[in-house]
Symmetry: C2
Subunit: 545 residues, 2 copies
């Protein structure tokens, strides 16, 4: 059992942009060291390749269809249990240092008479986390300020109305004229902020400050870096650490644009996809993306040294992952939001400090895992029993400990692009912007209402360049995966208010004195005896009615 959990998440980090994942030029020695100490899961999929819904799935341990926060800015229903609720029930804390993308369900709180500014209201509004430091990474002028970073910057002498935008998210010309970090023409320039005060350094410092004063109550610290997500601006020296020669080639083909699926075509029409066709843009942007990753890696090294020096490395379970990937121009796309591996698959490394996990250290595990597995993993690692009637993922502890339990045959991921410009380009109605993906380890099938599906064969076509969604020779595969998807959607049980054990122990009507359809007393006695025999066989006891 781990005493504490350090749950590190990057934002928009592709699964293949790590040294240990085979990137030929990117340097991530400290993350690679985590992989050597733990298990690297090579087939981990997020439940939505979009920040908000992906994180809400991770924090609730539930599919998007279940928690309902389908897109960025869609509030998480007030009634949804989160990792924090599950941990609080076993006397552990869930503490936030960084980004969550959580938006509170204010109408839901009003309905229940919960003041958003009360302690309970803040707990709910923050998705169940205690906020040590919230920094969502996108704080334009006029938007919501980070909880502490701007004050910190001001205290360091970075004076501005919005220091995040003025310094961390800005560059400048040689003669000191400020340049917007939002604009990628500036991506090769250093941020106006010294590295030591940049977001990644700051969040790492804040995490260490938390750990240093945390006291005796077991904690799960969610260190949630806002990088390498745009604005693509790195502080010196990371802005110049990589050059065009370090950037791996784009993965795309002319054939992809022939008979393209209308949703893919719409996504390609977005300006953030088109930018990667501008000569030189991709190289400039990705070099900075890589610099930001190596910066994170350096700070993870610093954090591990801190944990080791304070004697906490041997009883802290460490998770390293991301909320989704980034197309970076592959498939003629930018950003994320669709289901190619570069968007929907994420890095996942788990270091379990317990001796039972010694046998798997340094191994890779290719079994199909989902981001919703993390919440039950954390609950179980901290000594709890995951609430299986709420949490839809599965604890990874058995895998970390060398066991070979029956495992899932597919992963699921969902999108809803109703608030993205894709909707405009696709000409879809707000209520018809969803797509659901199922991947069985070989075939990836994506279903949407009223349009043809998408299908990739990752064995024959690992880079997902040939969409078989309309290929007659794959009709059977599509039907099979559609059936599995329907079964997932129809047979899943959102019975969140009653556990399996409670259902099994629930008194039968006859046991409660509610006698349905008996003719006389002898029939009642016969039924009560049959029930008692059945409960004895099943090892059940009844709850008092």
């Amino acid at each position: 059992m781990a005493r504490n959990v350090l749950f590190i998440m990057c934002d928009q980090l592709r699964f293949d942009y790590l040294g240990c994942a085979g990137h030929p030029t990117l340097r991530t020695p400290n993350i690679d060291a985590l992989a050597r100490r733990g298990v690297r899961f090579t087939n981990c999929y997020v439940q939505s390749p979009i920040c908000g819904p992906s994180r809400m799935s991770t924090y609730t341990g539930r599919y998007v269809k279940s928690h309902g926060a389908r897109f960025n800015q869609c509030p998480l229903r007030v009634g949804e249990w989160t990792l924090g609720d599950h941990l609080n029930q076993i006397g552990a804390r869930a503490v936030l240092c960084g980004k969550t993308h959580m938006r509170a369900d204010i109408a839901g709180m009003e309905r229940l008479g919960i003041d958003p500014d009360s302690p309970k209201g803040r707990h709910i509004a923050e998705g169940g986390f205690e906020v040590w430091d919230r920094l969502d990474g996108l704080h334009p002028d006029g938007g919501k300020a980070p909880s502490h970073y701007n004050d910190y910057l001001r205290a360091q002498g970075f004076t501005a109305e919005n220091p995040w935008q003025a310094f961390a998210a800005s560059a400048e010309t040689q003669d000191g004229m400020r340049l917007s970090g939002w604009l990628n023409e500036n991506a090769h320039r250093p941020a106006r902020i010294p590295e030591a005060h940049s977001e990644t350094a700051y969040s790492t410092n804040r995490a260490m400050e938390f750990i240093a004063q945390a006291g005796e109550t077991p904690w799960c610290l969610h260190l949630s870096y806002i990088k390498p997500h745009w604005p693509l601006l790195a502080p010196a020296p990371y802005h110049a650490m990589y050059g065009p020669e370090d950037v791996i080639p784009v993965v795309r083909s002319e054939a992809e644009r022939q008979d393209a699926h209308p949703f893919h075509a719409a996504h390609r029409a977005n300006h953030y996809s088109r930018i990667y066709s501008r000569p030189g843009a991709r190289e400039r942007m990705i070099a900075t993306y890589m610099g930001l990753i190596t910066q994170i890696d350096d700070h993870i090294g610093r954090l591990m040294a801190f944990l080791e020096a304070s004697g906490q490395l041997q009883d802290t379970l460490i998770i390293f992952t991301s909320d989704h990937g980034d197309y970076l121009g592959d498939h003629w796309m930018g950003e994320k939001s669709f289901f190619h591996d570069v968007s929907a698959k994420v890095p996942l490394i788990v270091v379990d400090p317990s001796p039972e996990a010694d046998g798997t250290r340094g191994t890779e595990d290719a079994r199909l895992t989902e981001a919703i597995d993390l919440a039950p993993t954390i609950v179980e690692a901290m000594g709890g029993v995951p609430a299986a009637h709420i949490l839809e993922g599965r604890s990874l502890l058995p895998l970390l400990r060398g066991e070979d339990p029956p495992w899932r045959g597919h992963v699921i991921s969902e999108i809803d692009f109703s608030v993205e410009p894709t909707r405009r380009h696709a000409g879809r109605d707000v209520d018809h912007c969803t797509m659901t993906m199922i991947f069985d380890g070989r075939f990836k099938y994506c279903y949407a209402e009223g349009v043809r599906p998408i299908l990739f064969d990752l064995v024959e076509d690992p880079f997902e360049l040939r969409d078989l969604g309309a290929d007659p020779s794959h009709a059977e595969t599509r039907a099979r995966l559609h059936g599995a998807l329907a079964e997932w959607a129809l047979a899943r049980h959102p019975r969140t208010t009653m556990s399996r054990a409670e259902v099994e122990a629930d008194p039968d009507a006859t046991e409660s004195g509610i006698l349905i359809g008996f003719w006389d007393e002898s029939e009642v006695q016969a039924e009560l005896e049959a029930l008692a025999r059945h409960r004895a066989q099943a090892g059940q006891t009844t709850r008092k009615p």
Copy 2:
């Protein structure tokens, strides 16, 4: 616009046990009069043919899959909005007089710090209703007492620890020995209670008391009779009003038991199904069932006279329906819980007092309607705009007013028998007891994980005696309906925290100052202009970021 709504529900009343529905011997002149004043919907299906989940769907206006209270005793999630919440938002009251079968989500309330005994806690625990009188109809010794009926009975001199059981749910021998009303051998005897103090009379009295003192705030009164649900005991003279000669023949065939679907076979093995094969049982039980219906009819007559005398008939919208039917031995089954029409289809009569509805008075409407249509109908009738991002049904007002809008092509209903003895007989695991039905007006298809489906053709086989679930010649129909069911489950949008209008008005990232994937300022300007053009075309305005 109706000033008030009287929402009458019976419990376990079959769609075909009304004079106006064609029953040859049953007398329901007052309900028939309602049908003449309004519209009788002849294809109304409940979203689950089981009390609890059916009612939770009716009160939330949402499918069982959406609200999650899958079976009796499964608490309704604290975050679910109910009819009461929607009405309260437009300044109207939702008041309960009778049964709801609501069970509160205590763990969910505890998580949110809501005291179940506070006004807000009671609102949530009662499914959004103000409790004028709660009488769930099943109050065995040791169970939960009704809110007021037992006190009433005691005040009338019916002294017992549990007067409901001792008087309303008991009969007696000629020499005064008490007999249990739970046992159907006693179904032909009069209840120990005089009719004037029986449950149906009492609830009607209480409804009139409410109306008489209701004051100016618009109200929706849910008069929710607990009859003709068992215990099958009627007060005199209703216990002897019908005899075996009035009971219509059973609908069942030997062929039904050949190659029966395992779920049907399991349900038939329940004692409450087997009772109908006991000689004379069906006649004795149904005669009392019919007496209880005519008793309700008499009290509805009394209630209408009261509304007319107080001048309220012309501004009260009246709904008459049931929560599900009763097999009464048909198909070798008792009770409800499966999808034959006698179980899943309900009577529905709506009397809209507005002049716009004059053209449809006395007509029948065979369009496919669902119990979840009632909540939006009530909200709209009382002047509100149904919250379409929460309410999954559709207002029936356009149909009542002679309009012909595009209408749904199918209805959906769901069961979960994990707490019923059917699970034991079927040998199913708690997590695999669901079945989902889709009916398109002709074919009724029922899907469950891991077993063959059920299919009925109601044109060729209106009494549903031939299960075509394994018939090779109907493979195409099954595939078509399975596809529609999958689409329903996959493409539905549980986006309850954000309305359509809010999504449409949500600022695009670029409008919020979050600039994603632009190279330079000129691109930003071009995108802002494109956005403005799009919004102007769509007639949208943006919310302030």
